[in-house]
Assembly symmetry: C2
Homo-oligomer: 272 residues x 2
């Protein structure tokens, strides 16, 4: 009974959301949350109503990246109201629910499934054009729960860095997505190449091209690559969205192209 009520709440909530995009990575530290945050910002600036669900329960970083870490969601009879990061961008994260920012979330799998159910079923997302779900790296409880809770998502965007060690993990992610019968929207290669700000010469920190290779191997779309830019780190730390502050940088331009690609691939249904 309880189970069915939960499922019904989730179904009700998802019925007013047009597109759900799941952002995944094989390993951590590839910039997945930064990509998720800037994807959400970019879509909301194009006029869409966007929700961003931070599905990383142990290490939620979306509120910090968006500069809303001190805000708190409010409860009403309609459910929990997500935090408004921009006029058309609603955010929900475990970080909002922790009294102490430094407190670790020491949870095993079943509790995590419960939290994600609440985030989808009991948060009052309202009418959304896009719900972006930023998941923790790997193929454990959180991605598995989301795949089961949202069986009809538009699909997964897989973020990687170019080095081989990261690509071993990305291949696992792609196979995970396929096993879950989730469509793959495409791959993004982040931290792809770097230019010295002093002498202007190219430096290969993490190499380049690995994401493109994986996309060919698996016959899935390559959405584009984003160069390393120290400003992205700084804006992530200061809570200024990168795309807001550095709209003309190479990284921002690369990012806008990627968003266009995602929009084209996903937006086959009519979105107002």
């Amino acid at each position: 009974m309880e189970q069915n009520q939960d499922d019904k709440k989730i179904e009700n909530n998802l019925s007013t959301i047009k597109h759900t995009i799941i952002v995944l990575s094989g390993k951590g530290g590839v910039g997945k949350s930064t990509v998720s945050a800037n994807l959400a910002i970019s879509l909301s600036k194009k006029g869409y109503h966007v929700g961003l669900l931070d599905g990383d329960l142990h290490g939620p970083s979306i509120p910090k990246i968006l500069g809303v870490e001190d805000k708190r969601p409010e409860a009403s009879e309609k459910g929990i109201a997500p935090v408004l990061a921009l006029p058309k961008l609603k955010v929900m994260s475990m970080a909002f629910l922790l009294q102490d920012r430094d407190a670790p979330v020491i949870w095993r799998g079943p509790l995590k499934m419960g939290a994600l159910k609440q985030f989808i079923g009991e948060v009052n997302w309202g009418e959304l054009d896009y719900l972006i779900i930023d998941l923790p790296p790997g193929t454990g409880d959180e991605p598995l729960s989301i795949a089961q809770l949202i069986p009809n998502s538009d699909g997964a965007v897989v973020v990687t860095t170019p080095q081989d060690v990261a690509l071993v993990s990305v291949r696992k992610s792609i196979n995970f997505v396929k096993k879950m019968n989730m469509p793959v929207i495409g791959i993004i290669e982040n931290m792809s190449g770097f230019t010295c700000p002093h002498c202007g010469k190219a430096i290969d920190i993490f190499k380049t091209g690995g994401g493109q290779k994986a996309s060919k191997d698996f016959n899935i779309s390559y959405l584009g690559n984003i160069p390393i830019e120290p400003e992205i780190v700084k804006t992530g730390d200061s809570g200024d969205a990168f795309l807001t502050k550095h709209a003309k940088s190479d990284a921002a331009k690369a990012f806008e192209k990627i968003v266009d690609n995602i929009e084209k691939k996903v937006n086959k249904k009519q979105v107002k």
Copy 2:
């Protein structure tokens, strides 16, 4: 009954291991596995018998970093024999047990606890001076299981990168370790500063100094910092251990100092 037998196996196995060091990070992609691998190599080169347990079940990368990904552990009546990466370095990883390298491990918490129990209780580690355990990022099932399975470890080494977003997570890790009553050996700041190989000027990619700040805030030891070095990425990909190939680089020297610090802190008991 089953439970007690498992516990006894683990107790037996741990009784021939002098020191157990757990390597943790708040978020992924901070170079934790690279640090674990090079710590294990460095200790084994000093003449110690070392075991390295890759506790990242979803994204095991230790075998790739050590160039032993094609090897397989052998079963005998004494248990599963770990893979020998160097004359005095034994390795165990989920990667050795997967038939298909690209196959995702889609497991929820309880299965993960079971796998880690086997890795500790049924792998024939033999006499070891050090067992290094590389855990996946965060404060979920794997770190929780290890903390419960090995209540008397020498403690945790926490790896971070310097930017604020990473430090939010590292603070959670430290609080997790304290809640588990595990000693903290200290913090390592990785990807700390970068020098352009063309013009020699310093570039702040991820900033510097955050690890040191966290160590002061929590009153725990600062073990040292490791600069970004593209060669570390390359050797990680090619399976040559960084310390073997680039013993005279700045990063290698920084690393050796860190290992000395860890050795001093841990090595109060007599080790042959």
